[in-house]
C-alpha cells in the first residue's frame, strides 16, 4: 500500500510550497522595498553597522543540513509516530527587521520565521509586519504530513486457520495525507476610531488513503483524499465611545469535498472464466467470510482460481461525491469598560450553512445474503445548519476587592436534512453466483427519501463572586446553570421524535495564594449535576479539582506542581458509568549559571472508564476468555446480546523528562535529554485474536545536541535522537509494532 506514496508525495510537495512561497515572497519584497527605500534616504558616506541596512536593524539566520535515519522494526509505526526521514533539509530560517526610529517606509517591524523545509512532516512559515497606526499583517503557512498505520481501528483479524490465510498486516485504513493551511489577517488603521480587518484562510488536505466498504463482505477501497476549505473574513471595529468598541464581522466558509473511493486489491482471484474478482479484506473461511470452502476443494483459492463461485466478492466498486458547503456568518459584538465599575462584552452571530452533494455508487459482484449481483445508487443529499450564537459577559466591581462576574452563553442550531436516493439492484432470479450474467437478473428499484431535523438549543449562565482579600490571597465562588434541549425529528411522523431536556447545575469555587513573591498557588473546583443525558456515557455527576503551584526561590530556579482530578459518574443501575482522569505532575527548571541548566518533569496519569455493556460472544471450544466467562445475563434487556459485563478500561501513564544544558567552552553548547512515556492498563478481551491495543508500552526518546560556534557568524549543529517504541501488548494477527530508530541531524547555521 505504500508503493504509491513517492509519486503522490512528489506531486503534493510541489503544490504544498506554493502558498508558503507566496507568503515568503511577500515578506521578501516588503523587506527589499523597505530597505532600499530607507537606504536611499540615509547618508551614503556613513557605512552601515553590521546588521544595519538603511533605517533597519536586521537579524537573519538560515540553517541548512540533513537528516540520516536508521529504523529497525516497524517502519510504518515509526512513520506513524515520528516520520522524520533521511535527506537534505532547509531546517530553519528567520528574519527580523526593525526600524530604528520606528518609522520605516513600508513597515516598522517585519518578522519571518520558518522551519522544516525539504521533507520534514511538519513545516511552517510565519510572517508578521506592522506599521504603527497604519496596519498589522500576520500570515502563517503550515504543512503537516500525517501517516497512520495502526490497525486497531480497522482490523479484519483474519485467523491463521483460514484457507487461504491472508493476515492484514497493514491497516485497511492506512493514510498518508498532507494538510496545508494558510492564514492571512490584515488589520488596517488598528488604532483609529474606525479600523478594518480582512482575513483569508485556506485548508487543503490531499493524499492517498484507504478505507473499506461493507457489501456482502468488506472490501478495501482506495480513496485519494481531497478536501478544501476556504474562509474569508471582513470586519470593522468602531470606537463609538471611550473604551467602547462596536464590531461587525462577516465570515464566509466554502468547503469542497472531492474524495472518491474505488476498489483496491487485497485478495484477488480469478473465476474459471478468467474474470478477475476481489474477495475483500475478511478472509475467515470457517465463518464463511467471504464464503466457505466447498469440498472437495481444500482452499478458497486454488492455483489463483476461486473454488467457490457462490461467494461474496467484488468485480468493481466506485463511489463519487462532490460535497459543497457554503457557510456565511454575520456577527455583531461589543466590548466596553465605559462605566467605572462595569466591564461588558457581548456578541451575537447568525450562521446559515448549506451543503449539497450528488451521489453515484456502483457495485458489481455478489452479495449472497440478498442475491444481488450489482447495484447502482444515485441521488442528491442536502442539509442546512442554521445557528444562532450569543454570549454576554459582565464584570461588576462592587468594591475595590470584590467583583461579580456573569457570563451567559447561548447556542442554538437546527439541521434540516434531506436525502433523495434511488438504488437499482440487479437481483438474481434463479441460481445466483459470480458466473450469473447480469441479464439473468431482474432490476429492483429502492427509493430512499430522508427528511429529518437535528436540533439543539444550549443556554448556560455562570455567575461568580470573586474577592481579593489582599494582594496575597483571593477566592471566588460561583454557580453555573445550563439547559440543553435536543430534538431529533427522524421522519416527522408522530411518535418518532427523540426529545431530551437536560439541566446542568454546577457549583464553582477557587482560591489563590501568593504568600510570598516566590510562591503562588491556585486551587479551583467544579461540581456539576445533570438531571438527564443524551448519550449513555455522558455523566450525571462530574467533579473537577485543580491545584497548581509555582515556587521560585531564586530567579534561576522554578519548581512547579499540579494535581488535576476529573471524576464522572452515572449511578443508573443499567449504566453504572464511572470514569476518572487523575493527573499529578512536578516540574523543575534550574539555571544557576549561564553555562549550566537543568529541566526536569514527572507526571502520573490514571484513567478509568467503565459502563455496563451487553454483548454476544461464544468463544471456540477449549478457549476461555475471563471477560466472557465472568459475564452475567443481559437477556432480559437485549436478547440479541445476552451477556452482561463491565467494560472496564484502565490506563496508567508515567511520563518523565530530564534535560541538561551546559556550555563547557564559550564556543560549545551541549544539550542532553531524555523523554520516557510508559503505559500499562487493561481492557476486556472479547476474542482470542483481538489485539489489546496500546496499553502496554514504553516510548523512550533520548537526545543529544551539540552546537559549535565556528566564528564568522557560523555555527555547526549536530543532534542525535533515538526513538524506541516497545509495545508489549498481544497483537493477534496484526503486524508487531516495535521499532527503534536513530536519527542524526547535521546542519550549518549562519546568523547575523
Amino acid at each position: 500500500m505504500k508503493s504509491g506514496k513517492t509519486d503522490l508525495q512528489t506531486f503534493r510537495g510541489s503544490r504544498s510550497k506554493s502558498s508558503a512561497f507566496t507568503l515568503l515572497a511577500v515578506g521578501t519584497v516588503l523587506a527589499w522595498l523597505a530597505a532600499t527605500g530607507s537606504a536611499q534616504t540615509s547618508n551614503p558616506s556613513q557605512a552601515p553597522a553590521v546588521g544595519e541596512y538603511g533605517d533597519y536593524q536586521v537579524h537573519a539566520s538560515a540553517e541548512l543540513g540533513g537528516r540520516f535515519t536508521g529504523i529497525v522494526g516497524s517502519g510504518n509505526m515509526y512513520d506513524t509516530l515520528v516520520n522524520l526521514q533521511s535527506g537534505p533539509r532547509f531546517l530553519s530560517e528567520t528574519l527580523s527587521m526593525q526600524s530604528m526610529d520606528h518609522q520605516g517606509l513600508l513597515f516598522d517591524d517585519l518578522y519571518v520565521d520558518s522551519f522544516g523545509w525539504g521533507g520534514d512532516p511538519n513545516n511552517a512559515l510565519t510572517l508578521r509586519a506592522d506599521k504603527d497606526k497604519w496596519y498589522n499583517l500576520q500570515g502563517r503557512f503550515r504543512r503537516d504530513q500525517n501517516y497512520s498505520d495502526f490497525n486497531l481501528l480497522a482490523n479484519p483479524l483474519n485467523p491463521p486457520t483460514s484457507n487461504p490465510s491472508i493476515p492484514a498486516l497493514n491497516s485497511p485504513h492506512l493514510f498518508d495525507t498532507v494538510r496545508r493551511m494558510s492564514d492571512v489577517d490584515l488589520t488596517l488603521l488598528p488604532q483609529g476610531w474606525l479600523s478594518f480587518r480582512l482575513g483569508y484562510s485556506h485548508n487543503n488536505m490531499t493524499g492517498p488513503s484507504y478505507s473499506s466498504v461493507h457489501e456482502g463482505t468488506d472490501a478495501l477501497l482506495l480513496q485519494p483524499w481531497n478536501t478544501t476549505l476556504n474562509s474569508y473574513r471582513v470586519g470593522v471595529d468602531a470606537r463609538v465611545a471611550p473604551r467602547t468598541v462596536l464590531s461587525f464581522d462577516e465570515f464566509l466558509d466554502y468547503y469542497r469535498g472531492d474524495t472518491d473511493a474505488q476498489l483496491a486489491p487485497f485478495a484477488p482471484a480469478l473465476l474459471s472464466s478468467g474474470a478477475p474478482v476481489e474477495l475483500g479484506l475478511s478472509i475467515d473461511t470457517a465463518n464463511r467470510a467471504p464464503c466457505a470452502v466447498v469440498p472437495p476443494a481444500t482452499s478458497l483459492i486454488s492455483n489463483g482460481t476461486l473454488t467457490n463461485v457462490s461467494c461474496n466478492a467484488y468485480f468493481g466498486y466506485l463511489r463519487n461525491q462532490r460535497v459543497r458547503t457554503s457557510a456565511p456568518t454575520e456577527r455583531v459584538s461589543f466590548r466596553s469598560s465605559y462605566f467605572q465599575r462595569l466591564e461588558l462584552v457581548g456578541s451575537y452571530a447568525y450562521s446559515s450553512a448549506t451543503m449539497s452533494t450528488p451521489l453515484y455508487e456502483s457495485f458489481n459482484g455478489l452479495i449472497t445474503r440478498t442475491g444481488t449481483r450489482a447495484f447502482t445508487g444515485t441521488g442528491v443529499a442536502d442539509a442546512n445548519r442554521i445557528s444562532d450564537t450569543a454570549d454576554f459577559g459582565a464584570t461588576l466591581h462592587l468594591t475595590k476587592h470584590l467583583r461579580l462576574i456573569n457570563q451567559f452563553y447561548f447556542w442554538a442550531y437546527r439541521i434540516p436534512e434531506n436525502g433523495n436516493f434511488s438504488e437499482v439492484d440487479s437481483v438474481c432470479t434463479g441460481t445466483c453466483n459470480l458466473l450469473t450474467p447480469l441479464n439473468a437478473t431482474s432490476p429492483t428499484t429502492s427509493p430512499t427519501v430522508q427528511q429529518a431535523s437535528f436540533n439543539q438549543t444550549l443556554k448556560r449562565n455562570q455567575t461568580q463572586l470573586a474577592w481579593d482579600f489582599s494582594k496575597k490571597a483571593g477566592a471566588s465562588v460561583g454557580f453555573r446553570y445550563g439547559n440543553r434541549v435536543f430534538d431529533h425529528f427522524n421522519d416527522f411522523l408522530p411518535g418518532d421524535l427523540d426529545h431530551f431536556d437536560i439541566n446542568e447545575f454546577a457549583a464553582l469555587a477557587g482560591v489563590w495564594f501568593r504568600p510570598t513573591r516566590e510562591l503562588r498557588m491556585n486551587f479551583d473546583m467544579e461540581h456539576g449535576n445533570y438531571d438527564n443525558l443524551i448519550v449513555r456515557i455522558a455523566p450525571r455527576k462530574e467533579t473537577r479539582y485543580r491545584l497548581q503551584s509555582n515556587y521560585t526561590p531564586r530567579p534561576w530556579a522554578t519548581v512547579g506542581g499540579s494535581i488535576n482530578l476529573v471524576q464522572d459518574s452515572n449511578a443508573d443501575s443499567l449504566t453504572n458509568y464511572v470514569g476518572h482522569n487523575q493527573n499529578y505532575g512536578l516540574t523543575a527548571s534550574l539555571n544557576p549559571k549561564e553555562r549550566f541548566g537543568v529541566d526536569l518533569a514527572y507526571n502520573y496519569n490514571s484513567v478509568i472508564q467503565n459502563a455496563l455493556i451487553c454483548f454476544n460472544d461464544t468463544p471456540p471450544t477449549g478457549v476461555t476468555l475471563p471477560f466472557v466467562a465472568g459475564a452475567g445475563s443481559c437477556a432480559g434487556n437485549d436478547p440479541a446480546n445476552p451477556l452482561l459485563g463491565n467494560s472496564f478500561y484502565t490506563n496508567h501513564t508515567q511520563f518523565g523528562m530530564a534535560s541538561v544544558r551546559f556550555v563547557p567552552h564559550p564556543r560549545l553548547t551541549a544539550n542532553v535529554g531524555l523523554n520516557v512515556t510508559g503505559v500499562d492498563g487493561s481492557i476486556p478481551q472479547f476474542n482470542i485474536l483481538q489485539p489489546l491495543g496500546s496499553l502496554d508500552y514504553i516510548f523512550v526518546q533520548p537526545a543529544l545536541n551539540l552546537s559549535v560556534d565556528l566564528g564568522h557568524k557560523l555555527a555547526w549543529n549536530t543532534s542525535w535522537n533515538y526513538y524506541q517504541y516497545n509495545e508489549g501488548s498481544f497483537v493477534g494477527p496484526t503486524a508487531p509494532r516495535y521499532f527503534h530508530a536513530n536519527l542524526l541531524t547535521e546542519s550549518l547555521r549562519y546568523a547575523f
Binding site: L153, V213, R243, V345, E361, T389, R514, G561, P619
Partner: protein, 309 residues
C-alpha cells in the same frame, strides 16, 4: 427538574442593574483605575518625558526602545499616553524625590488587578481580549505580567515572557505530559500553538476554549471534513462534541481516542436498547473486528443512516 431559565436570567440582570444604579453617581468610590495614568487627571507639567527616565534607567530604556511600546512616544500632545509615563504615570515627583519609588507607579508587588488595569487601559478593547475580566485566568489571579514582559520579553511577538508552549507549560504541567504522549496534537513540534484552540484572555465558553463564529468547535478549523452538516448526523459528535470520544491534547491511544479499543467505546453507548441505540448482534468471537471497519463515516454521512459510506 425543570428550571425557568428566563427567570434566572431576568433575576441576574435585575441584580446587576440594581448594583450599577446603586453605585452610580458622582459620589461613587473609584474602584478601578481604568483610564490608567490619564484618569488621575494629572497636568502635563507632572510629566517629565522618557528621556529623563533614561538618565537613570538606561538599561531598561534600551530594551524598551526596541519594543512596540516605544511607539507611544509618537502620541503627540498626550504625555499621559507616551513613553514610560504612559504606563508608570507622571514622573515629576519621582524625579524631584530623588528616585522615590513611592512617587510613581511601580508594577512590582502591586495586585494583579491594578497592574492589569494599566495594560487594559490601552489593550482592553482590542479584539480577543474583551473576555479577560470574566476569564478563568483573571479569577485565578493570573494577570498580564504573568505572561507578558514589557521590558525583558524573550519572545518579540506579543512581548511574551517565554516562548509558547513553554510559557503555558509553566503552570499547565498536565498538558506538558499530554503533549509528550505518542499520539498528540503537534504543539511541541511548533505546528500548533496553545492559543490556536484556547484564548488565554478568555472566551464566552468554558475552559477558555475558542469556538468558530458559527458556534461550532474550533476543531473543525483543521478537521474541516468532520463539520458537516450531514444528512445523517452521528448524535454525540454534535451534541457532546469531539471530546465524547477523543482527548484533545494527547493520548496513549491512536487517533487520540479515550479508550484503546474502538469497539469498547462504541459498545459503551450502543447497548441496552431501552436506554439508547441498539448494539451490534455480531458474535464477538465468531467475527470480531473494529466497528469502524464497516461504519467508516462515523463522524457523519450523507448517504448511509448507519455511516457505511
Amino acid at each position: 427538574m425543570r428550571v425557568n431559565l428566563r427567570k434566572i436570567c431576568a433575576l441576574t440582570f435585575f441584580v446587576l442593574l440594581l448594583c450599577v444604579v446603586s453605585m452610580a453617581g458622582p459620589a461613587a468610590q473609584q474602584v478601578l483605575d481604568k483610564g490608567g495614568p490619564a484618569s488621575k487627571a494629572a497636568s502635563n507639567s507632572q510629566y517629565v518625558g522618557a528621556d529623563t527616565c533614561k538618565t537613570c534607567h538606561e538599561e531598561i530604556y534600551d530594551a524598551w526602545e526596541k519594543t512596540p511600546h516605544w511607539k507611544t512616544m509618537l502620541n503627540k500632545g498626550t504625555p499621559s499616553k507616551q513613553g514610560c509615563e504612559g504606563c508608570h504615570g507622571p514622573g515629576a515627583e519621582h524625579v524631584a524625590g530623588g528616585g522615590d519609588t513611592s512617587k510613581i507607579f511601580v508594577f512590582e508587588g502591586k495586585p494583579r488587578e491594578e497592574t492589569s488595569a494599566r495594560c487594559l487601559a490601552c489593550h482592553g478593547d482590542t479584539h480577543g481580549q474583551g473576555h479577560y475580566p470574566q476569564s478563568a485566568h483573571a479569577s485565578s489571579d493570573i494577570g498580564c505580567l504573568d505572561c507578558h514582559s514589557p521590558h525583558h520579553a524573550q519572545e518579540k511577538e506579543f512581548l511574551l515572557a517565554r516562548k509558547q508552549p513553554d510559557l503555558c507549560y509553566g503552570c499547565h504541567t498536565t498538558e506538558k505530559a499530554d503533549f509528550a504522549k505518542p499520539f498528540h496534537h503537534r504543539v511541541n513540534e511548533g505546528l500548533v500553538q496553545c492559543n490556536d484552540c484556547h484564548n488565554p484572555h478568555g472566551t464566552g465558553t468554558v475552559r477558555q476554549v475558542r469556538a468558530l463564529p458559527s458556534g461550532d468547535a474550533v476543531c473543525y478549523k483543521c478537521h474541516a471534513d468532520k463539520q458537516g452538516p450531514f444528512v445523517y448526523e452521528h448524535v454525540p459528535v454534535k451534541t457532546e462534541g469531539c471530546m465524547s470520544c477523543h482527548t484533545p491534547h494527547g493520548s496513549t491511544n491512536p487517533r487520540l481516542l479515550r479508550v484503546s479499543l474502538v469497539n469498547m467505546l462504541c459498545l459503551q453507548c450502543h447497548t441496552f436498547p431501552t436506554q439508547g441505540p441498539a448494539g451490534p448482534a455480531h458474535n464477538q468471537s465468531a467475527k470480531y473486528q473494529a466497528c469502524t471497519m464497516c461504519h467508516t463515516q462515523i463522524h457523519g454521512s450523507n448517504f448511509s443512516a448507519v455511516f457505511f459510506k
